[in-house]
């Protein structure tokens, strides 16, 4: 196959190709859009470590990712071979190999560890992860990543070079040699096929399950269990949800890419008040069923929400309050403090000071607008994690190993994390504080243990930001049975741990050995916790970068927002620059309408067969997009 890689493409997407993520979401969308418009697209990756910031990891995967930062192992630049490739009329841009977007990584393990037990993730290559695990639950290993200057890959204004990176790690070596092609000879390989490559190879190393019977307490999850079940985890670096009427859902439906993804509805909106987690009634059915609201509150809340649905039609109701904050505005409405809190923090998801009346009304309206399309909350979560979404847009591809070849292209799409310090010397970045927790139960117990919840904890002091908590149950296919995967996100004011630990302490309690078995702990127990800061480049304008050629297009990393609108907007804008006057991600043609003649017969046949397959595998339980309109009488 390697011999067949063409040397000319319309668009080259420089991304971090790995098993977990091909590229970031905006790049994937642009690549898919270009491909649908008949452009030849080449995905190139070069990183020697896992995924971009849109990636999702198994448990062993996240441990390897951590190791990268902890070992701080710089790859030595291997000489100026590429410089010979630059032609006279070309200009070289140095790309950074080293990702500097992640900082202040800290990991804690609270689950009990049996050191005598040899455990490893079923199907994982990774064996030596002891270095990131604290033996004493109260004293965690701390490691901070120090960025270093390392520029190894180059790009010329009209060419780029991919090369093999030397590496001692077998797994990463496999990864970096992948070049993914999207384009005229579309080949459809199935997601599960893609993953099975590494699964098959490693399955021989899996020790037969022997540990479960030895666990002293059946209900307690141990670290070795987490390691063993590590493949059940899909840990996203970015924690986002899809607004059910957001741009991304619209795009998934319009482009018919939705058939590659499955979603679950978020089941609950939660609030944390006076030390208690409670459910926020936000839909009509919630308000009806709520036991915590009085009758009069039910009416007040419904009345206010109904007004918000079409607030533009009633300017008299808010015109006088346009200058004040939304929080002040809510005080002027017929709402109890209880209800004001719900609307401000859990529905509009803003803060006391952040938004004015109009922004708050807009946010509330958006929330309500999304409600009820697929379920009782406005949000969807992709099964197997947010990391699935970029993949959905790149489902049509061939994998070709290729290195050391000169490739020509008209357009280059680069995520900003690839730029060297020289390029970014004038750029100011914001930071996102992130934490990922594995816990043993939900923050709010109900009849069903399969709840997906979002909880907003307002910042306590002025100047601190609200923390968004998303708790995923095992049926989202992101964590093992009996555990919950909890993502915390906020705009950074300090390091991730400093920003988020207070909230973690309020909601969870560290697992301790000393607990007696009968002791009923009210809060969920922490089994494992990870903190890190991620760079937020979403508001950096292209002009801030030094010396970018006009055919290099920049995608930002993930933003801190809950939805994905930012990525979609960015993708559409860049697509319009690359392919002016082309429809953005039109649906693929109906197989019946494809006119077959001669050459193209092959690829059309395979396209048709994929469509049929995809249609037949709609799962029962998860929300499938498409035609959700309410049945009416």
């Amino acid at each position: 196959m390697a011999d067949n890689l063409p040397s000319e493409f319309d668009v080259i997407v420089i991304g971090t190709a790995s098993v977990n993520s091909i590229t970031g979401l905006p790049e994937s969308i642009i690549a898919a859009a270009c491909s649908r418009s008949g452009q030849r697209v080449l995905h190139v990756d070069s990183r020697s470590y896992y995924g971009g910031n849109w990636a999702s990891f198994s448990f062993s995967g996240i441990l390897s990712w951590l190791k990268e930062y902890q070992e701080n192992s710089d790859i030595v630049n291997e000489g100026p071979a590429w410089q010979e490739q630059i032609l006279e009329n070309e200009e070289a841009i140095a790309l950074s190999r080293k990702d500097k977007t992640i900082q202040h990584v800290e990991v804690f393990c609270y689950a009990s560890q049996d050191l005598h037990e040899e455990v490893e993730e079923a199907g994982a290559l990774q064996k030596n992860h002891a270095s990131v695990i604290s033996e004493n639950p109260t004293e965690a290993v701390h490691s901070a990543y120090l960025p270093s200057e390392d520029e190894s890959l180059c790009i010329a204004s009209c060419e780029m070079l991919t090369e093999q990176t030397p590496s001692s790690d077998l797994e990463t070596a496999l990864e970096i040699s992948n070049v993914k092609v999207t384009g005229e000879t579309e080949k459809h390989d199935d997601k599960t096929c893609m993953k099975s490559a590494s699964e098959e190879e490693t399955s021989k190393n899996v020790p037969t399950t022997e540990g479960t019977a030895l666990q002293p307490k059946k209900t307690r999850i141990t670290y070795s269990q987490i390691i063993k079940e590590g493949r059940r985890f899909n840990i996203d670096l970015v924690s986002k949800l899809l607004y059910s009427r957001g741009l991304l859902i619209d795009l998934l439906i319009k482009s018919n890419v939705s058939r590659y993804a499955e979603f679950k509805n978020i089941t609950r909106i939660l609030a944390f008040r006076e030390g208690r987690v409670e459910q926020v009634p936000c839909s009509r059915a919630d308000v009806f069923n709520s036991k915590q609201l009085t009758m009069v509150e039910k009416r007040m809340l419904m009345k206010f929400l109904t007004f918000c649905m079409e607030y533009e039609k009633h300017p008299d109701e808010y015109k006088a309050y346009e200058e004040i904050t939304f929080s002040e505005y809510l005080k002027t409405q017929k709402l109890t403090p209880n209800l004001q809190y719900f609307v401000l923090h859990s529905i509009a998801m803003t803060s006391e000071t952040a938004s004015n009346t109009i922004d708050g009304l807009k946010a509330t309206k958006n929330f309500l607008h999304c409600l009820g399309r697929y379920g009782n909350t406005p949000f969807l979560f992709p099964l197997y994690g947010q990391g699935e979404l970029p993949q959905c847009f790149c489902r049509c591809k061939a994998i070709i190993d290729q290195f050391g070849q000169r490739i020509i292209s008209k357009h280059f799409l680069v995520e900003d994390s690839y730029f060297s310090e020289n390029t970014c010397s004038h750029v100011q970045y914001r930071q996102i504080s992130r934490s990922v927790l594995i816990t043993d139960r939900s923050v709010l117990k109900t009849d069903s243990d399969q709840q997906i919840s979002i909880l907003t904890v307002p910042g306590e002091e002025p100047g601190t930001f609200a923390v968004r908590v998303i708790e995923l149950c095992s049926s989202t296919m992101t964590c093992m049975k009996g555990t919950y995967l909890v993502h915390l996100t906020c705009t950074s004011s300090k390091t991730a741990r400093e920003d988020l630990e207070p909230v973690v302490q309020k909601l969870f309690t560290p697992y301790t050995e000393t607990e007696t078995e009968n002791e009923e702990v009210e809060k969920p127990r922490l089994l494992w916790a990870l903190y890190f800061n991620m760079r937020d480049s979403s508001d950096v304008s292209r002009n801030s970068y030094n010396d970018l050629p006009s055919n290099v297009y920049v995608c930002s990393g993930p933003d801190s927002g809950l939805g994905n609108d930012n990525a979609v907007k960015q993708a559409e804008t860049l697509f319009q620059l690359i392919c002016p006057n082309e429809d953005f991600c039109p649906p693929p043609p109906n197989p019946e309408d494809i006119i077959t003649d001669g050459d193209s017969l092959q690829s059309e046949a395979s396209e048709a067969s994929v469509i049929l397959e995809a249609n037949s595998e709609t799962p029962k339980e998860s929300a499938s997009l498409g035609n959700p309109e309410e049945a009416s009488q």
Binding site: M295, K298, R299, K303, K334, I594, E604, Q633
Partner: protein, 567 residues
């Protein structure tokens, strides 16, 4: 562009679609024709099943074809072995499901499923319940499916508690569900049967309170959703009043006995609906309605033979037995008296509170409080206003009269589309109140002037009234039911908008009739007056017909016995 798939244009697509449709129509029509031919020829075999399933699969609402299928299946039942039949039924059930997926609200399909299940020796009801649950998951308000579910639950003898839990789950998902609320109103009385003495169809207080809370949740969440208000009305309503004879009246002068019933009845000639016992011996009589139409009505009367009214005897007892209603009433005519009667008092029986229950006035009181609370938040919600009015009437119609009238005014302003209905309802309540006041005063004179009445109701309750004042209202007619006022002597109905006088007929004691300033235009409408034998004073001033030439002459001829006619 390079690398892009070639795709049909929209015109090509449209043309392909059109051809496809044409082809389909041809097939459909020829299959239909074949089925009808075969049916006519009596060839009801499996080929008809095959043909009809092709058509019904595309259009399950073709009722005739379902009939065809039933005919075929009935015939095959006789011909086939049990095993073959079982296979046939299995196919039929599967086919019905596929039709329901085409149209989940197809009357024909659901009916056919009922029919089929009803004929099976061992129907799998559990599967049917599962089917209903699945269809209701897709559309929780599909009343066709609800109907079928009730059928299945009854056949399978599903415990009402389980079905109630099922309605719970659907109401939790979306309370705007008439079927689900209605089903509760059927299930709850089954679950909590009242002791024999108690009113049937009512709930014990603890259950009632729980239901009221549930339904309050609904109307505080969305007061504009009608389904919850309807259920609320049912919860507070009371069982239909028991059949009863409300009033019995005997008049010596007219040699006539009049009976008033609790509901409209039809007493046919030579039937045994009503038995009359005079002094404990049965008496055969001819029953008729006061207006002479003999339509179902509240009031029936009969002529009595002179022997039954012999004034020499100290008294006569008259007993009427209503066989269908299992009720009877007795009255006595004493020597020297012109009339005798026996009547249920509207005040004692609280007849006019029948919209809502009176047993639980504390419950009603607290319901009134919550509705008033809601009304403060939603001053323009018509359901809330109407419920407040009904609750006030149930609690104490006279005490709340003034407040009720204010709420009516608000209600009319917020719901002008139903202004006429509200006027009529208001008239009814005002009339009821006046009637109560009259009874408390123990008189037979009823003043209904200046009340803005638009309609007359409860006239069967006015059997004993002698003087009736209807002046200064907005009445447009004196309806036939007025003929029930057998004792009426003076009727004043000035200053209305009356156009017809159908009810002023056969009034044996009417002497004075005043109809000034109304809208009587045609002389013809005066015709009924001729049937009132004692009429001596008639005032028609201020009516259009007074302007017409020859009216006086016409009246003189029509009513020769009336000595004073003012036109």
């Amino acid at each position: 562009m390079h690398g892009r798939l070639k795709v049909k244009t929209s015109e090509e697509q449209a043309e392909a679609k059109r051809l496809e449709r044409e082809q389909k129509l041809k097939l459909y029509q020829s299959a239909t024709q074949t089925v009808f031919q075969k049916r006519q020829a009596g060839e009801l075999d499996e080929s008809v099943l095959e043909l009809t399933s092709q058509i019904l699969g595309a259009n399950p609402d073709f009722a005739t074809l379902w009939n065809c299928r039933r005919e075929v299946l009935q015939r095959l039942e006789a011909q086939k072995s049990p095993e073959e039949l079982a296979a046939l039924v299995k196919t039929e059930l599967g086919f019905l499901e596929s039709c329901l997926r085409v149209n989940p609200k197809s009357y024909g399909t659901w009916h056919h499923r009922c029919w089929l299940l009803g004929r099976l020796p061992e129907p799998n009801w559990a599967r049917e319940l599962e089917l209903c649950a699945r269809f209701l998951e897709v559309d929780e308000r599909n009343f066709h499916c609800w109907d079928y579910r009730r059928f299945v639950a009854a056949q399978a003898a599903v415990p009402p508690a389980e079905e109630l839990a099922f309605t719970d789950s659907l109401i939790t998902r979306n309370f705007s569900n008439y079927s689900s609320w209605h089903y509760r109103s059927c299930l709850l009385p089954q679950l909590h049967p009242q002791p024999d003495s108690g009113p049937q169809g009512r709930l014990p207080e603890d259950v009632l309170l729980k239901e009221l809370e549930l339904v309050q949740n609904a109307f505080f969440t969305d007061p504009n959703d009608q389904s919850a208000w309807f259920y609320h009305r049912w919860l507070l309503g009371r069982a239909d009043p028991q059949d009863a004879l409300r009033c019995l009246h005997v008049s010596r002068d007219e040699a006539c006995l009049t009976v008033s019933f609790s509901r409209p009845v039809l007493v046919g000639p030579r039937t045994e609906t009503l038995l009359l016992m005079v002094d404990e011996s049965p008496l055969a009589v001819e029953w008729r309605t006061p207006d002479g139409r003999n339509w179902p009505g509240h009031v029936w009367l009969c002529d009595l033979p002179a022997t039954s009214l012999n004034d020499q005897l100290p008294h006569h007892t008259f007993r009427v037995i209503w066989t269908a209603g299992d009720a009877q009433k007795e009255c006595v005519l004493l020597k020297g008296h012109q009339e005798g009667w026996c009547r249920d008092s509207a005040t004692d029986e609280q007849l006019f509170r029948c919209e809502l229950s009176v047993e639980k006035s504390t419950v009603l009181q607290s319901e009134l409080e919550s509705c008033k609370e809601l009304q403060e938040l939603e001053p323009e919600n018509k359901w809330c206003l109407l419920t407040i009015i009904l609750l006030m009437r149930a609690l104490d119609p006279l005490l709340y009269e003034k407040e009720t009238l204010q709420y009516f005014q608000t209600l009319k302003a917020v719901d002008p589309m139903r202004a006429a209905y509200l006027d009529d309802l208001r008239s009814k309540f005002l009339l009821e109140n006046s009637l109560l006041k009259m009874e408390y005063a123990e008189v037979r004179v009823l003043h209904l002037g200046h009340k803005d009445l638009t309609v007359l109701c409860h006239l069967e309750q006015l059997l004993l009234v002698t003087h009736l004042d209807l002046s200064h209202n907005r009445l447009r007619a004196l309806p036939p039911a007025l003929a029930a006022l057998r004792c009426l002597e003076v009727l004043q109905a000035n200053d209305n908008a009356i156009e017809s006088l159908d009810g002023v007929t056969n009034l044996p004691r009417l002497q004075e009739l005043s109809l000034c300033n109304n809208r009587l235009q045609q002389r013809m409408v005066l015709q009924p007056l001729a049937s009132c034998p004692r009429l001596v004073l008639l005032n028609l001033q201020g009516n259009p017909l007074c302007q017409a030439v020859g009216t006086s002459e016409y009246l003189a001829e029509l009513l020769p016995l009336v000595n004073s006619i003012l036109v």
